[in-house]
């Protein structure tokens, strides 16, 4: 398969450059017609905050990686993108890379399952905009299947692998029903936002955001349908919260042991969960000694993250096997594309002979006799061609003896002079037969 593509990801470039190259759905829809004109007959663009992937079947043999990079460079208005910021893939390696992306093996967070949904969306955009025909549709199906199998047949996506998610997992071990709990997130930066999103996802409806810059807190609160609280009133009101997650860049403690002791007293001993995911820490670690106070900082949460990461890493061989399995299936199907025109010509050659011979005897037989002879010859040709056709198909599907397959194809072409006919077969014809 002559698929060619480039990938810009966390290995090849900085987050700033990846952000600059990020393409929204509307951008992709606009780009596709231009891409069809100058680069690919079919293909897809996958763009997330962490990666942009551009893959396709070149319209001619002169298309190379530099042209694809230049195309992206022009579209995004970023001059002189360096080649080293892109990974380049061709044929088998391209297919393998797409499968790795869909299974989360290529993600910044190993086993990230979000990428499968994002890939599905990218494939849909491609199909809806007429940028995918038989080959790419099949490639999309195989990629999504590999991604789904990775989720179902391995534990690659299990366990918290970010500190914020690990914090939520610990909270779930303390409280049974998060929907009945109140939570305060201090800090509306990236980490605080992630923690707030996780809490929201886990059903915490009574969510409050506090931030030194109040407008930032308001922005995040609006996004998550949460409430806000002024930074100065945290200490006075912290007793109202069952869960407190702190993720600010404050150089000093925001809450010390005395504050927490006072809050617990006001809470009549009801448990409180303090997740300090800031560096330097926001909450006095001594507060962990207070009864019914569950205090965790980055170090303790990292124990969970590291353990889960190791577990995910141990699942890589399973996902690799899934990828290999799906690649074998995909290329088995793809290999049959090359043999189809030969088989078709071969069978047509015999069919023409049969019709020719039938014509010669038609006037010597009555209708009933002619029908019998016609049926008999059809059956005869069918039986003669059955084994060679099957053998050729099996050889193509297995993909193991490409040399044998080539020899057989050449032999057939030579023996039955099929070459001239084959040359006339166009690519679309070949695809129609297969898809049919």
């Amino acid at each position: 398969m002559d698929i060619i593509g480039i990938s810009i990801n966390h290995r090849t470039s900085t987050i700033e450059l990846r952000e600059k190259l990020h393409l929204l759905k509307n951008d992709i829809v606009e780009i596709i017609p231009q891409m069809k004109q100058s680069l690919f007959s079919e293909g897809f663009i996958l763009s997330t905050c962490n990666r942009t992937e551009v893959f396709g079947l070149p319209t001619n043999n002169n298309i190379d990686y530099a042209q694809i990079i230049n195309f992206i460079s022009e579209i995004k208005g970023i001059p002189a993108l360096e080649s080293k910021n892109f990974e380049k893939y061709f044929s088998c390696s391209a297919v393998k890379h797409i499968f790795r992306v869909c299974t989360g093996l290529d993600s910044l967070i190993l086993g990230d399952s979000q990428i499968l949904g994002q890939s599905k969306e990218a494939f849909q955009i491609s199909e809806e905009n007429g940028f995918a025909n038989t080959s790419f549709k099949r490639l999309f199906d195989a990629s999504l299947k590999a991604g789904k199998r990775a989720i179902n047949e391995s534990h690659i996506g299990e366990g918290a692998v970010t500190v914020s998610f690990a914090a939520v997992q610990v909270i779930e071990k303390i409280f049974a029903d998060l929907s009945s709990k109140s939570a305060l997130v201090i800090g509306a930066g990236e980490t605080g936002e992630l923690a707030a999103v996780h809490l929201n996802d886990k059903g915490v409806t009574d969510l409050t955001i506090a931030n030194r810059t109040f407008s930032k807190a308001e922005k995040l609160a609006t996004k998550l349908n949460a409430r806000t609280m002024s930074f100065q009133s945290i200490k006075d009101n912290m007793n109202k919260f069952d869960i407190i997650v702190s993720a600010t860049s404050s150089p000093d403690y925001i809450l010390d042991k005395k504050d927490i002791k006072a809050a617990i007293k006001k809470r009549k001993g009801a448990p409180v969960c303090l997740m300090d995911i800031a560096l330097p820490r926001d909450i006095d670690p001594e507060s962990a000694k207070i009864d019914n106070v569950f205090y965790h900082d980055i170090d303790s949460l990292n124990i969970i993250v590291e353990e889960n990461l190791q577990k995910r890493k141990s699942e890589i061989p399973i996902v690799d096997r899934i990828i290999m399995d799906e690649m074998v299936h995909f290329f088995s199907w793809h290999n049959t594309l090359d043999i189809v025109p030969t088989i078709k010509s071969f069978r047509e050659f015999f069919e023409e002979l049969r019709i020719d011979e039938l014509k010669k005897i038609k006037h010597k037989l009555d209708d009933e006799e002619f029908k019998k002879v016609e049926d008999m010859t059809r059956r005869l040709i069918g039986r003669i061609l059955h084994n060679p056709t099957l053998k050729l198909r099996n050889l193509a599907e297995s993909g193991e003896n490409i040399e044998d397959l080539t020899n057989y194809t050449l032999l057939l072409n030579d023996l039955f002079i099929l070459n001239g006919k084959n040359k006339n077969e166009n690519e679309s014809n070949k695809k129609q037969v297969i898809s049919g």
Binding site: K173, A176, K268, G269, P271, A288, I304
Partner: protein
């Protein structure tokens, strides 16, 4: 029939051990192996136990509550049955491993020492006695289940405080759930024990000529009842949380065990039936 009863008597500890092993394997396994099989294993054990108890009742023409070892097998059944219902109702499957050893030990002792008792005192055929004993045993089963969940609560509490995210952290439900399970079991156990004490209080004086209120077994039962009553009241009225409540229930359970051990094994009482 007696041969079948004998066979089931020795089969039961094996079945309990089997069910316990499946729960143990499932607990220590990283993956969710035998998640459903362990429930099936426990159901089969309970079914066989139920058949065994029914056969004993029909064969010996009295409920199996006439001596210590019959009581033990009913207690094993009560604990397992209560836990099984709890597992079905809450779908919390991680705590069975810690409850089954109690049933296994009671059943093993019963299987070793139980005898065929065709002749029993008339009083032991009384329906009120059956109700009295069954409610007491189910009450004690409730206390056992509560204590196990209480201990698990304390273990998980310690692990969470110490940032130790091992098997207990992974396999246990939340602290809040363990506290709820422990407290609910206590309330159910306490209610059943109250019923047992009430029936006993009204019926025992007329059934036993040598009845006296100063009997050690009655005093210990009253003491156990009082401790659990105080614990429940404190929880409701004092708004206690977590460790304090759990410690009270564990104190109640420790006293229960102590009184059962001292009174049943060492003491003398009119309240013995064998």
């Amino acid at each position: 029939m007696i041969n079948t009863i004998d066979f089931l008597n020795y089969l039961l500890p094996v079945l309990y051990l089997g069910a316990f092993s499946v729960y143990l394997y499932n607990f220590i396994s990283e993956k969710k192996n035998f998640e459903h099989s362990k429930r099936l294993a426990l159901f089969i054990t309970l079914l066989v136990h139920c058949i065994y108890l029914a056969m004993r009742t029909f064969e010996f023409n009295h409920p199996p509550i006439t001596n210590r070892y019959e009581i033990f097998t009913v207690l094993a059944f009560s604990i397992t049955c209560s836990y099984f219902l709890l597992e079905l109702l809450t779908d919390i499957r991680g705590t069975g491993l810690f409850i089954l050893p109690f049933a296994l030990v009671f059943q093993a002792i019963s299987s070793l020492y139980i005898t065929e008792s065709y002749v029993v005192k008339d009083v032991l055929r009384n329906n009120l006695l059956g109700l009295h004993v069954m409610s007491a045993l189910l009450g004690y089963a409730g206390f056992t289940i509560s204590a196990v969940h209480g201990v698990l609560f304390l273990m998980l509490y310690k692990k969470l405080k110490g940032s130790n995210f091992g098997l207990i952290f992974k396999k246990m439900p939340s602290l809040e759930t363990l506290e709820k399970l422990s407290f609910s079991s206590v309330v159910i156990g306490f209610t059943l024990l109250t019923i047992a004490i009430l029936i006993g209080g009204f019926w025992l004086p007329s059934a036993f000529p040598n009845f006296k209120y100063s009997d050690p077994k009655l005093i210990s039962s009253a003491l156990i009842w009082t401790i659990y009553a105080i614990g429940i009241l404190i929880k409701y009225l004092g708004g206690w949380y977590g460790r304090k409540v759990i410690n009270t229930t564990l104190l109640g359970f420790a006293l229960t065990l102590l009184s059962l051990l001292l009174i049943n094994v060492l003491g003398s009482s009119f309240h013995t039936f064998s």
